[in-house]
Each structure stands twice: as C-alpha cells, then as structure tokens.
C-alpha cells in the first residue's frame, strides 16, 4: 500500500493508476463490469426468450437446463434475471445521475448567490425531506399513474433535493474561501466561478453519495415494482420477479430468491465502488484553476 | 533540586527511546533515541519547538500513544527501577493516575462535556482507591479548594462548559493530583490560556509540587515558562534531546546552538533591550531524517563533520550535557 502510493506519484500510466486502486474499488469495478457485460450480451448468453411462456416447463427447479429454474408461466428465470439488468441498471442510473446533475447545479447556485432563490429552494427541500422518500414517490405515482416513464419523473422530482442540499452546504463553505473571493474580486461572472472554480471542489461529496444513492434507487425501483407500482409486467424486472414468486414460496423458493440475489450482487458491486471512491475522493481537494 | 535526593537513583529514567508513527507512504520517527532522567521531587523543564517530540515522550511514558499507528521500537522507561514498557496492561493502568499523572494542553477539551466536573475529577479515587461516591465527593471538594477553585461545594456538579479555561485547568490539575502521584507530566499546561492566567497556573503547580514533594516534568515550547520554575532543563529538537542540565547552567551557559537560538528568539527570558533573533529555516522532515546532527541545516556553526554521523550527547560539565561537536564555540 505504502510503496504503491508513493510509486503512483511518478508518471507510470494506467498500471500505476490501477495499483493505487483500493481492493474494494478493484473488486467492485470488476463485479460491475461483469454485470454490465451480462446485461449487454444477455441475448447471446442464454438460449431462452425472456418473455416466451411455456406452461409445459412451469415451476421447474434449478437444474442443468434452467440454472435458476422456471417461473409459474414457464419462463427461464436466469434469462429474465439477465435481461432485467437492462431494466434495473438503466433506470437506476438515470434516476441517480439526472437528479444529481440538476440538484448539484441548483444547490451550488443557491449557496453562491444566497438571497430569495436560496430561501425558496431551501423551503422546497425542507418540505420534500419532511416526507418519507418512498411515500412521496408513491403519492406522485398515484397522481401520475404507474409505469416506467412515471417512475423516472417521480424519482427525479424527489431525488434532486438531496444533492441540492449537499451541494449547497459545500458551496457555503467554499464560497468563503480565498480562491472564490479572488475570482469575485476579478469580476468573473457567477456562473464562471461556479462551473470552473467551485464545482470541481464541491462535486466530490455528491459523487460519493451518488454511489449509495444508485444502490438505493435500484432498491427503490425494484421495491415499487414489487408493490405493483413500478415497471409493468411482463418486462423482466428483479423486484417484479420476486413478487411473482411470493405466492409460491413453499413449493418453488427459487422464483423469488434467485432474482433477489441479482439485486444484492449489483448493490454490493456499487457499494464497493462507492467505498473505494470515498477513500480516493475524500482526502483530496482539487484546486480551482 | 533538593540536596537529599542528589545521589539517589532517578525516579524516572528514559533510555534510548525510539517511537515511530506509521503514516501514509512511510513512517515518521517522532522520537529517535531519547534519554533523560527525572529525580524524585525535582522539576524538569522539557522545551523545544512543536513537533520536536515532547508530547510523544510524555505519552510514551504513560503508554498512551495511539495504537497501532505508533510503535515503540527500542528503549526503556524505568519508573522506580521497573520498566513501564514491559508491564502488562493491567498493571500499567494502576500506574496511570496513581504513580504518574498527566495534565494536558487544552483544558476546554480535557473533560468530557456530558459528565459533571466533580464526577470526572474524583473518578480516579473511586476506581483506584475504591472510595464511595460520598467519600470521593468530600475529597474532591478538598482537592478543588486546594487548587484554588472558589465555592467547590456549589460547583462540584457543574458541567465543563459552564467554566472558564483557567478554572477548568485548575480542575484538570486537581484531577491529576487526586491519587497523590509521585510524578506529574504537565504537557503545555498553560499554552491554551491567557497570559495572566498562565502565571497563576504555573504558581499553582509550583505550590502543589512543593507541598506534595512530587516530581514534575513541565513541557513547554516557551523557554521563558521553563526558566521560571524548573530545577533542570532538557532541550528537544527533531525527536532527540540536544542539551540537558541544571536550569541555571543551560540558560546561562548554553552548550548547543539550538538552545542558544531558543534563548535569543524568546522574549520571556531576562534579556531586556536585546533584539529577538528568530532561528532561520524549518525543522527537518522526520520522515526522512539525515544521518548527522538534525540541526545542522539551520546551524551557523555546522561543518561537513556535523552532517556525516550522529552526534552523541556528551557531558560538558557535571550534570550538563549537549549533543554538539563545537560546544565551546557558543558565545
């Protein structure tokens, strides 16, 4: 560790950079790459169709032909679990990073400019945070109706607030520092100070938070689908798959349990990456040039 | 220094103590072969810039260095002839507070904010001496009175945030004195306080020492503070003792250029009318120590010889030693 950390300062290219990755970052990245690859190449990895029903092959236990067994409609669970990577990971990604983009910009702007905009924004954020996250999203879905598109809207409407609050708090600290004051005395416009000087310094905490937010959003989307408020059937989705097996727990445990493992695996991969990033980004501060 | 203890074996004897801290990308030698002695009943002043290893030394004596970051490599810490470094943790706990006590730099953070002052002050009495709460309270109030805290009965149950820094330091000193230690380590006990309060606290420590006959190590970065109260002085630089001897000899006839530098840069010592000369340069990087004298880079007297080999502490006069190749060139 100590030797590698020192060697990393010398220009050593990709290899030196990889050496500086902590074990958790390395394992997490490898796991994540594997999951993404499995999602991308799903049609070539399995001979089955994720949607085709085959009542002759219903409720088969895990075996050589069906690694994860089949569900009550005779669909291959392994195939559906692979295709569900596309559903869950994609929804999880966008429901994390679109709100982050908007939230960080709004929060940083509020922290830099203060005034009425800041006051109004803070009231909105306080109100949103007064609700349990899931309850607010369910209420929004009750207004909009269920469906994949409305999940994006609902999570977006709630999700940006956390990032805005985080970025605002960081910006308040940053705004008092000399380099921001210097930029101000030089008469730079506020957006330039924000984007070029302050943003590189305040975005780290949001990036670190986004990794666990990513996990929570996957849990959220699968939870909504489990409750029947999310991704509509027959689209393969992990939470919905767990829900489908709920009534067969005793005779066919595999329907619910095995798709759940995929959620855990993905979540652990993301959490490990987040852990690794915390150590890498946490100690360092970028100077605003 | 009382003549009665002159020939007796020292109460505390530190021999060749080496302490290393593991840090990102290597290690730092915070203490490299420190040796010093404290005799029963005397006051030793330990001076040096911040980072010279004074606090590390105190913590090493009490074995309070952060684990596993700090490692005591070699050396001995003999207290009353027994090596503290070799004691089992249980025995060491009994030494802390009863035989050796410590007063820390910042009184505002030395007490937990959530417990009453009296409770923390008398905790040692209850733990080590097995006193009941009522008996401990009685003694605690007496201790508070002895350290000059007014209205101790009423203030016993106060919380630390209700008190001023000076008053808190009195409480911390009372806490250290609770079990009548034979050695008190005072680590910059006045640094965090106002100048007027500093004098009072130093006077209090001197009074308590005289009354109890305990030995004391007074750590300070300010040679003026040490000059007033100490029998002997040890000067530390970059993790080593560079000069040690009777206070009068070290202050009046320094035998190491660093001691001389400290004296010239301190307004506290009696040198009215003289210009203050700061020591040029920076302390060396402890992560990458040079083989020779650590002060060589900042020293006007240094020659090539100084940079090649370690310079040993050697006697210049009875009881007065310095680690310099040219002690006679001090003007």
């Amino acid at each position: 560790m100590s030797v590698a950390a020192h060697a990393g300062h010398a220009p050593g290219g990709v290899q030196a950079e990889l050496l500086r990755w902590s074990p958790s970052l390395r394992i997490g990245m490898a796991l994540l790459a594997l999951i993404v690859a499995a999602g991308v190449f799903a049609p070539w990895l399995t001979p089955y169709d994720p949607l085709r029903q085959d009542y002759g092959a219903a409720l088969l236990p895990p075996g050589a032909a069906h690694w994860f067994g089949t569900d009550s409609l005779g669909r291959d669970i392994f195939t559906r679990a692979l295709f569900a990577i596309r559903t869950d990971l994609v929804i999880g990604f966008w429901t994390t990073y679109l709100p982050m983009l908007v939230g960080v910009l709004l929060g940083a702007w509020a922290g830099l400019k203060r005034g009425l905009f800041d006051a109004v924004l803070m009231r909105v954020i306080d109100t949103a945070l007064a609700f349990p996250f899931l309850v607010l999203i369910i209420v929004i879905l009750a207004i909009l109706g269920p469906g994949t598109q409305n999940i994006y809207i609902a999570v977006f409407l709630v999700g940006w607030t956390m990032y805005a609050r985080l970025a605002r708090a960081e910006m308040l600290v940053e705004a008092g520092k000399d380099y921001v004051l210097a930029a101000r005395t030089l008469g730079y416009p506020a957006w330039r100070i924000l984007l070029r000087h302050a943003l590189p310094n305040i975005v780290n905490s949001s990036i670190v938070f986004s990794m666990s937010d990513f996990v929570l959003n996957i849990l959220l989307v699968s939870g909504l689908s489990f409750l029947g408020l999310g991704v509509p059937p027959p689209v393969p989705e992990w939470g919905a798959m767990v829900a489908e097996g709920k009534d067969f727990m005793q005779q066919a445990w595999w329907i619910s349990t095995l798709p759940g493992f995929m959620i855990v695996l993905t979540g652990v991969a993301l959490a490990l990456v987040g852990d690794g990033l915390t150590h890498r980004l946490g100690d360092r501060h970028v100077t605003g040039h | 220094m009382s003549p009665a203890t002159e020939g007796a074996p020292p109460l505390l004897q530190v021999r060749d103590l080496e302490v290393a801290f593991r840090v990102r990308g290597g290690e730092v030698l915070a203490s490299r072969g420190v040796s010093l002695e404290v005799r029963a009943g005397e006051t030793l002043g330990l001076v040096g810039e911040s980072g010279s290893g004074k606090s590390v030394l105190c913590r090493a004596v009490l074995r309070l260095l952060p684990q596993p970051a700090a490692q005591v490599r070699v050396g001995q810490v003999l207290f009353d002839g027994a090596d503290l470094l070799a004691l089992p943790e249980r025995r060491m706990r009994q030494v802390r507070g009863t035989d050796i006590a410590m007063v820390f730099q910042n009184p505002m953070t030395s007490l937990s904010p959530v417990w009453p002052i009296g409770d923390q002050l008398t905790e040692g009495l209850r733990v080590h001496r097995g006193l009941s709460r009522a008996a401990a309270r009685e003694q605690g109030i007496a201790l508070m009175r002895a350290t000059g805290i007014p209205e101790p009965e009423r203030r016993y149950d106060d919380h630390p945030w209700q008190w001023s820094g000076g008053m808190l330091q009195r409480a911390v000193i009372a806490m250290a004195m609770a079990c009548k230690p034979r050695l008190l380590l005072a680590d910059e006990p006045t640094t965090a306080l106002d100048v007027t309060i500093q004098e009072q606290i130093l006077a209090l420590l001197a009074d308590l020492q005289e009354a109890s006959g305990m030995a004391m190590v007074l750590v300070s970065h300010d040679i003026g503070v040490v000059a007033e109260t100490c029998d002997r002085i040890a000067v530390m630089y970059a993790g080593t003792v560079v000069e040690t001897g009777p206070a009068a000899a070290v202050l009046g006839n320094p035998r190491h250029p660093y001691t001389l530098g400290l004296l010239r840069s301190s307004p506290g010592v009696d040198r009215a009318g003289r210009r203050l000369d700061p020591i040029p340069g920076q302390p060396p990087d402890l992560a990458d120590p040079a083989p020779g004298c650590p002060f060589a880079e900042r020293c006007a007297l240094a020659s090539a010889q100084c940079r090649e080999n370690p310079v040993r502490l050697e006697d210049r006069a009875p009881g007065h030693a310095s680690a310099c190749l040219f002690p006679e060139r001090m003007s």
């Binding site: 349990p132 309850v135 369910i138 207004i143 005793q250 | 030494v95 802390r96 820390f104």
Partner: protein, 312 residues
Amino acid sequence: MWVLRFVASRLLQAVPVLLGVTLVAFLAIHLVPGDPVRIMLQGRASDAAVAEIHARLGMDKPLLVQYARFVGNALTGDLGTSIIQRAPVAAIVWERLVPSVFLLAYATLLSVLMAVPLAVWAAARRQRLADHLIRLSGTVAFAMPSFWIGLILILGFGLTLKWFPIAGFGKGFGGHVHHLFLPALTIALFLAPLLIQSLRAAMLDAMTAEHVEVARAKGLSESRVLFKYVLRAAAIPVITILAVNIGWLISGSVVVESVFSVAGLGMLLVHAVSTRDYPVIQGLTVVFALLVLGVNLLADLAHALIDRRVRP
C-alpha cells in the same frame, strides 16, 4: 420547564414546512389528470352523482378556498372522507397508526440492539479482521432489498421452522411482539448497517477526543473509557442518524408491511393507491409527514437531554 419552551420553538420553526406538506397533500388530488372523482368511481356513476360528490367534497369552489378549508379541517383533525370506504379518513388512518408505530419502534429497538455492540466491537478493533468483517457484512446487508429479506425470513423462520407467524399484528402486547418480530427484524437488517457505519465513525471520532486520552491517563480500564466517555459522546450522532433516517425507516416499513400483511399505514397507502382512494392518500401524506417531523422533534429533545449545552 425548558422542555415546553423547546417544543414550542421547534413547532413554530416547523410552520413553513407544515404549510408545504399540506400543499403537497392538497395537490395530490388536484393534479390528477382528469376528474379524480370519476376515476375513483371508475365510470360507474351518473353525472348527477359525480356533481353531488364534487359539491360534498367542496370541489366546485375556487382552489384557494378549497386549500384553506383543507388546512382548517386538518387542524381540527378532519382529514376528509373516503368515498370508497365510506368512512372519515382520520378514523381509517387512526386505526392503522398503532401497528405501524409499534413496528417502527420495535424495528428501531432491534437495530440499536444489533448495531451498538457491533459498532463498539468494530471501533475497538478498527482496521483488524472483526472490523473488516462487520463492515463487509454491512455493505451486503445494505444492498439487500427489504421485501426480499422479508420473504427469506418468511421461508426460513415462518414456513420451515414455524417459529414465528408470517402475517398479521396479533393480539395483546405479547402477540404484537411475536407477530411483528420478523417484520421488525427485516427493517432492522436494513437500518442496522447505516447505524453501525455512523456509530463506528462517531466512536472513532470520539476516541481521538482529548478528554478520552485524559480518561485513559487517569488509569481507567478500556471498557470504562469506551462506555462512559466514547459511547456517550457517540450517542448524539446516533440519535441524529436515527432521526435523519426515519424517512428511510418508514419507507422500509411501507414495503415490509405489505410483505407481512401488517394492517398499518404503509399497507393502507399501497391499497389506497391501487384503488385510487385519493382522500385517503391525501390524509396519509399529512400523517406520514407528521410522523417524520414528530420523530425529529423527539430526537432534538433527546439530544438536549444528553447534552445540556443545546438546551435553550
């Protein structure tokens, strides 16, 4: 006496948020595309019946008047009427409140019981095997969806071992404790990792405080230092963490109530959404927010009890 002043000042500070909360609840019915009454009645009612319900709910009045009435009614404890269940929303919600609060308190207790010893252990053995294992299992537990843990607990402890019932609220305190054990454990398994992580960090932070070193210098045993000085100082961040995560805790309970068929607020919400019972959704929106704000107030109070400095 400070308690009353403390609570009063906090309530005053909460007024803008409460206005925002009622606004969101109010809009929950008015932002629905189309006519919410027709959606609720699913096209089975005549135009006259729809108009009659509109009038009864006051939906023929201007929006601002409706909002004022909504807030005014809510202040007197009237949360409207469910057309579908033909009952006052307040009564429906009240009936469901007890199981939910019981479950939340139970889950919090379980997670604290799990988290405190593990966090103390991890902090005391930091950067050693126990610490790494505890952190790793925390990462895994954090990634486990609660509905999935719930089903696995049902399969293991309910259906296979038959130690615990897998549904319902049970009768009497003992019955509640027995019936809600698995649901509470499910929530606790999701909450405990968060607690462990922050408690461990808070303890490591507290361990480096100077007063802890002073305590060690007094010759106190490591366990006394840990429990009297470190844990006490770390308790404040933990209470804050619990309060901050109350939203997540309730979110988790919504899902878990559905898994274990506990007739609480969460199950009511999911049911109300699927039957498009808008007045109940409205009422629940307010009640859930009040729960969150109430817990935060309690946490602030507890903080003031432990650390006298924050008292007014």
